[in-house]
Subunit: 874 residues, 2 copies
């Protein structure tokens, strides 16, 4: 039997989305449940795929099926395609599974030609309407099918109007329009060397091909890429007999949501136009009326529509976005689909629908797009003030939130200004670890260089701080402390506002509003927590972040980096002294003075976290990251620590590395300088002992050794840490339950995870570094070429944002299996940036991790994503 | 039944090495075949391991077995341990499977105490001999068992001599010696708070423990590490009744090889001393006589020994190193083992033994230590001149060979001097890719910084050029063009000589001699080639290296790097112009002018290689490596290429990377700048076409795309290369068989090798980079900490020298399996430094690679190693 490529609307239903596309399936469904849908048929997505597999030609058997269905349509409508008496006119619309901007949308009035236009005139008793429809059809068809720029047609129309001294199209007579049509046809002939197609069936096939072609145009491609839609789905094409909303005052057209897509409130939300076609609404020439007005204008139609809307929402069990047309007092449904909505609306609709008993809690949770709620977790600009704000530049939306403050150009100045109670916007060419304190002191960060994964972006996201990075519109002269945008300059202490959700930079101060996490949001979080099995921890390096993490529902700290603590103003000289120490004694002396600080750091965090586990990573970055590089700073340090300038400079030079990422860092530091990890371990255990006695609270430190590459290496460093910890406990004759585990971030660690697991009590996948090494992509440098990789479709998504399952994921999976084989109860988590990415969380669930850890501000997102991952699993 | 921990010499044989150690097994074997071996027994290596597993105590059952065997020994010798009438004296010697410097070697005369010494005097009728033996025993035992420094005993002896006004020990009387013994015993008491052990059985057990302990001393440990000997083998202990070579003129002792260990000539080679014990030979107080003299001194003994030597060689089927003692006219065999030999001797002995029909060819091939023959493949210093040479510093033996020449401090000066016919030694702080031409122009390279895998070391090894790196004894002031060693300074144009085998640096000129590769060497190579199944290719970047590779027996080029070609003086400005080009057109223009050069490069190589396959790797390093960094050089370039200085400097700044290793390089360059690979592909195919027409020879270019990380990426770049190649072939209407494949050097490539193999016709494992990324070790930086890893036993061997089988090897194995699953006939090779490392070659054979590729100078080593790997496999 021949394969079926065409389905009449009464042959399908809403389950057939993958074949009929979203639009086609819903048209079929509405037909099935008896709603007034203009007759028509759908050409399947499979036909589209076949079109591509057969060098972009529609095969004969498909053409035949289209003809057959056209004949049925003619019979049902009692009209004939191209008929000069009673012509059938159709709309042709694309209909992919997911609607996609960039794809060809709609051609209306297809079937009009020099003959049928006369029939339409007769039928509607309105010659001007008929010819104007024909004119519009030629223009639309030429634009989207024949690829003739629209403006060329507009120009013809403009000339005609100016010849006649008219201002509006509406004032053109039938004769004027006929003349314009002739000009249009001449233009088509000139541009395509062919006459405008008069044969209606040919028009139809050309339109179908144009829809198929648009599946692969660049914009559609990019959209698919951004939204992770596979490229081989194909699109269906819907052919539907026309109804006219522009046939006088008893006709009209409109769009409505069953609930507000902005607030989620349960009220019809939408607008309509009397005597108009859909495109008039879009064109914006006339201002549509709110849908509530329809009740006054056409009360019966309004009630009919309201009932249908209700019925559709209950039928689809979701908020609907509905298109309708009224033709001479008769209501037709042209489309229904699940309505897009704001994060706020998404949450309200989901929660309301559960109380209305339309859906259950699980469905409610699965309805939320986790990434979308990010915007609810950060401050936003007051929308009224924003309307009057003047945008002056745009960079990358590197870290969400909104911030207003005074410009400062150095970390020191930012810290100082903060102390004076000012709100600070830190503006830098790019940031480095030395700027951490300045970043902490700021409301938002703006950098001229660096991508979405630059230092500024990563650190700001971790802090939940607004950041706009890689803003090439600006020029930062750090030495002058000046910022230049276009011809204007901005100095220290001037106001600036940043929107981290859009990357926009605004002049002056704009009021911000804090996020509201109670009400429906809290309800949904509770439901998510009931569903999920993955634990959610946060990455937090200080008591403040720890407290935010707890507020957002974190069940522990998955990554507490100790290096940020080293950068604080009071400590950094001691840190530097320790690094450049000539021998172990000097180093130990400097470390001794750091011990007290570190202990207090840990105590603060332990107190915030209580009995929740806290994973503390011992020192990770290469030591040279802590050292100054400018001559002036070196001189200052030289006198601070009383070390000869030349000797100090040589030492700093000596520590430089070609590839710091693969250099002397992580546990490698502990092999060379055991006293560093010994001090940190001592500080952790002392802090735990003191919190235990002060607060009578058993804290659970998990000591994490970074950058492990082999079982032997772990054994060696673990022994050092373990002996130190036990030593401290003996000293105080007390006990603290602590664990020792490792980051799995070096490919070799994943490959030999069984060896490592023999000693390690937990693994935490450091997916940032693991991705860097598995791909051989330096995060600091790959911005330069990753964009080319995306443009050329070599990379579907940025592996630093979403775990690369085929490569990095394979390694993680290996490590999980090997690790569990050696130690069945090993605790497994992830603490890279990926820990807050919903798709990556789904992967973590699928391979059976125990927890994910992410920035405190992403904890709620992770909670929902984890619940959804669990639901998918079932 | 109880486990047997002690074996009498007549219970074992030579197959029991792993249990009895080499020495013990051979003593048993000699006993078994009826040779005169003093009676004794062996305590097994298992006893040693048990000693370690039981907190370094000898368990009771083992003690019991030792006592039992001691009793048997007493009965057989009719002597008694500690007996004042007829005392049994024994030697105690360690005996690991492989003899190991650093381990306790020998204690002689054990069993002497205050009573038995009297018995010995009676027995030998020589009181002075007996007491001197006792004195020596106390000293030796105290040194190795009680850990009392030898010099303290020497001092007592010296005082005694000076008191008596004597010069030599021999002049001391029995009474003197007795007095010395008393002093010795006092010293022991003072140092150990205990009396010198008089109980002979206790002496024995203490000696056995000392042997066991010495298994784990640092020197032995380092030796095992260097020689890849597992740490858990343990050592056996041999207890043997004493015979005395120092009982007068009919006694003596000696050592002899059955053939010359230097030349391999078939003649007894060795020396002996009359009236002496083994330690006298070692002490060097008396000069031993050549073994041939024994024929005159003791003709019967000589003949008996000669026969035994012959018998042993035929029995063991290898050249033997034999120790013997003559006691009052009776010959005793104390040890036999396979003799260590020079590379030259190894080859001669192996080949001779085949013609003597003692061994077959396979055995001959398996006898050669592949690494050892390296010294035969490079120039060496004239040994006479070397004897008078003055060594002034020592660095790392980074690349073998010997070189003498005039010092130059910059690549340019070296090139210039070379043009004037001078021999050059390039002296640098460290080298960078910009120095390549200077390195080519030099005889040898000396650097102050950098390890065995620094740029200088790697490049020099590739060139087969002598290099001493990381020579911290020297100070190089590049700006002054001066070299300082200790207090002396060396300027440009002064002579210097380097030995790359030892790392020694000599003053003045020393004559060098070229290697000789004919004769026995050639025969052995032929045999290796008959056995091996792995193909051997060479890494060669120019016609000269290609020609050396062919001379050394390479069957193709496995890696032809194209970047070295870019550094040549004439081209580098064009390369730089191409890199800083503002747009595609400028870039293409610069590339156009490089095309002719590249084509000639490839033609030259193709002509040398003929129909042997040549794998050409397209451009790999990040572009900034080609750019100058000093202001002065930037200015020069700015005028050369007519580009504004500031703009050029900014561009250079822009191209800098944080981690170049993981940056914009390899195929990533081709994604951004396709025109570079297009030019190179064009040059390759044009070269092939021209060589085909000029020489009527079908060359086989294999185009290799570096740094591939995914199937999509390979597909993308392959398409570009393939289309370019096909385009050129169409242009000339001809055909050339070419292949397109990839390096597997990024972990992700190994993990997704099946995807890549769908498109790639060959894989070449780039194990250098693969090791860097799998371990997360930057080769340029890891020198700083890898040494700590070795000292602390975290790393057994340098993963850049020998493939890390557990980690990197696991990835390679995965890639092999995945690759073959997708493309069964895929060609698989390896082109990292590991390609020339015998242990790594063994691994390559075991996972079924098709070929290994290494430096031309290592090709013969690889041929032997491959043959041995094949033999092991059977």
């Amino acid at each position: 039997m021949q394969k079926k490529y065409v389905y009449s609307f009464n042959e399908g239903n809403k389950e057939m989305k993958s074949l009929l596309g979203g639009k086609g399936a819903n048209l079929a469904e509405m037909t099935k449940i008896g709603l007034p849908v203009p007759l028509g048929f759908t050409i399947t997505a499979e036909a589209c795929n076949r079109y591509y597999s057969e060098s972009q030609e529609i095969s004969q058997d498909i053409t035949k099926q289209i003809s057959d269905y056209l004949k049925i349509l003619e019979e049902s409508t009692r009209k004939k395609f191209g008929d000069p008496q009673n012509p059938l006119l159709v709309s042709v619309r694309s209909g992919a599974v997911v609607s996609m901007p960039g794809m060809m949308d709609t051609i209306l009035n297809l079937g009009l030609n020099d003959e049928s236009v006369v029939g339409l005139a007769k039928l509607t008793e309105n010659e001007r309407f008929a010819f104007d429809s024909y004119r519009r059809f030629i223009q639309m068809f030429s634009d989207v099918v024949l690829d003739i720029p629209k403006h060329k047609f507009d120009r013809i129309l403009e000339i005609k109007k100016s010849q006649k001294g008219l201002l509006s199209d509406i004032d053109l007579t039938s004769e004027d329009i006929k003349a314009v049509i002739e000009e249009y046809k001449r233009l088509v002939k000139q541009e395509t060397q062919k006459d405008f197609p008069q044969e209606t069936k040919k028009q139809l096939l050309m339109a179908v091909e144009a829809v198929f072609d648009s599946w692969n145009n660049p914009r559609a491609h990019i959209y698919r890429q951004l939204n992770h839609i596979p490229s081989d789905l194909g699109t269906a094409v819907n052919v539907q007999s026309m109804v006219f909303g522009n046939m006088g005052s008893t006709s009209g057209t409109g769009v409505a949501f069953t609930r507000s897509p902005i607030t989620g409130k349960k009220d019809l939300f939408g607008e309509f136009l009397i005597n108009a076609q859909g495109e008039d609404v879009v064109a914006g020439i006339r201002t549509p009326l709110p849908i509530s007005q329809l009740e006054k204008t056409m009360p019966e139609i309004y009630n009919q529509f309201k009932n249908i809307a209700n019925l559709l929402e209950n039928h689809y069990k979701d908020m609907q976005d509905i298109e309708f047309t009224i033709e001479r007092g008769k209501l037709f449904m042209l489309q229904t689909r699940n309505g897009k909505r704001s994060a706020e609306a998404a949450i309200k609709v989901a929660v309301d629908m559960v109380s209305e008993e339309i859906i259950d809690k699980k469905t409610a949770v699965s309805r939320i797009e986790p990434a979308q709620i990010d915007q609810l977790l950060h401050p936003t600009f007051d929308s009224k003030e924003l309307m009057n704000a003047q945008s002056i530049a745009q960079g990358l939306p590197a870290s969400p939130g909104a911030a207003s403050g005074l410009i400062y150009f150095t970390a020191e100045d930012a810290v100082e200004a903060r102390k004076n109670g000012e709100k600070v916007i830190l503006v830098r060419l790019e940031t480095s670890p030395e700027d951490i304190e300045g970043m902490i002191a700021s409301e938002g960060i703006l950098t001229a260089r660096g991508g979405m994964t630059s230092h500024a972006a990563v650190v700001a996201r971790g802090m939940g701080k607004c950041c706009v990075s890689g803003c090439s519109d600006i020029r930062v002269e750090e030495s002058e402390k000046m910022l230049y945008i276009n011809s204007e300059s901005y100095g220290e202490g001037q106001y600036l506002s940043l929107d981290g959700n859009t990357g926009m930079v605004y002049k002056d101060f704009i009021k911000t509003m804090d996020p509201e996490l109670s009400g429906d949001f809290a309800v949904l979080m509770k439901w998510s927590d009931e569903i999920r099995t993955l634990k959610i921890r946060a990455n937090a390096d200080n008591p403040k972040d720890a407290s935010i993490a707890v507020k957002f529902g974190a069940e522990g700290i998955g990554l507490c980096r100790t290096e940020h603590m080293f950068f604080e103003e009071e400590r950094i000289p001691m840190v530097r002294k320790m690094i450049v120490a000539g021998n172990k004694e000097e180093r130990q002396e400097a470390l001794e003075s750091l011990l007290a600080y570190q202990k207090e750091d840990f105590k603060g965090i332990f107190k915030e976290m209580g009995i929740r586990p806290v994973t503390i990573r011992l020192l990770d970055p290469p030591l040279h990251e802590f050292l100054p590089h400018k001559d002036e700073e070196i001189r200052t340090l030289s006198s601070q620590i009383k070390m000869d300038y030349k000797k100090l400079k040589d030492k700093i030079e000596d520590l430089k590395e070609f590839n710091p990422m693969l250099g002397h860092r992580g546990c490698r530091l502990a092999v060379t300088y055991p006293e560093i990890y010994e001090m940190q371990t001592r500080a952790i255990i002392l802090a735990a002992i003191e919190v235990k006695s002060e607060e009578n609270m058993d804290v659970i430190p998990e000591i994490m050794i970074p950058l492990i590459g082999s079982g032997k290496e772990f054994e060696y460093v673990k022994k050092m840490v373990h002996e130190t910890a036990i030593g401290v406990l003996r000293e105080f004759d007390t006990n603290v339950l602590f664990k020792i585990g490792t980051m799995i971030e070096v490919p070799r660690a994943a490959l030999t995870a069984d060896e490592i697991a023999q000693q390690a009590e937990f693994f935490s996948f450091g997916t940032n570094d693991l991705t860097q090494m598995t791909y051989g992509f330096s995060r600091d440098d790959s911005g330069k070429f990753i964009k080319d990789y995306k443009i050329n479709r070599i990379l579907e998504s940025d592996p630093f944002q979403t775990i690369d399952e085929a490569g990095v994921g394979k390694l993680i999976k290996m490590a999980v299996d090997l690790g569990r084989s050696a130690r069945p109860d090993i605790k497994l988590g992830i603490c890279g940036e990926h820990g807050g990415d919903p798709r990556s969380i789904n992967f973590c669930q699928s391979i059976g991790l125990d927890y994910v850890s992410c920035s405190p501000y992403r904890v709620p997102i992770a909670r929902i994503a984890a619940a959804q991952a669990r639901l998918k699993e079932r």
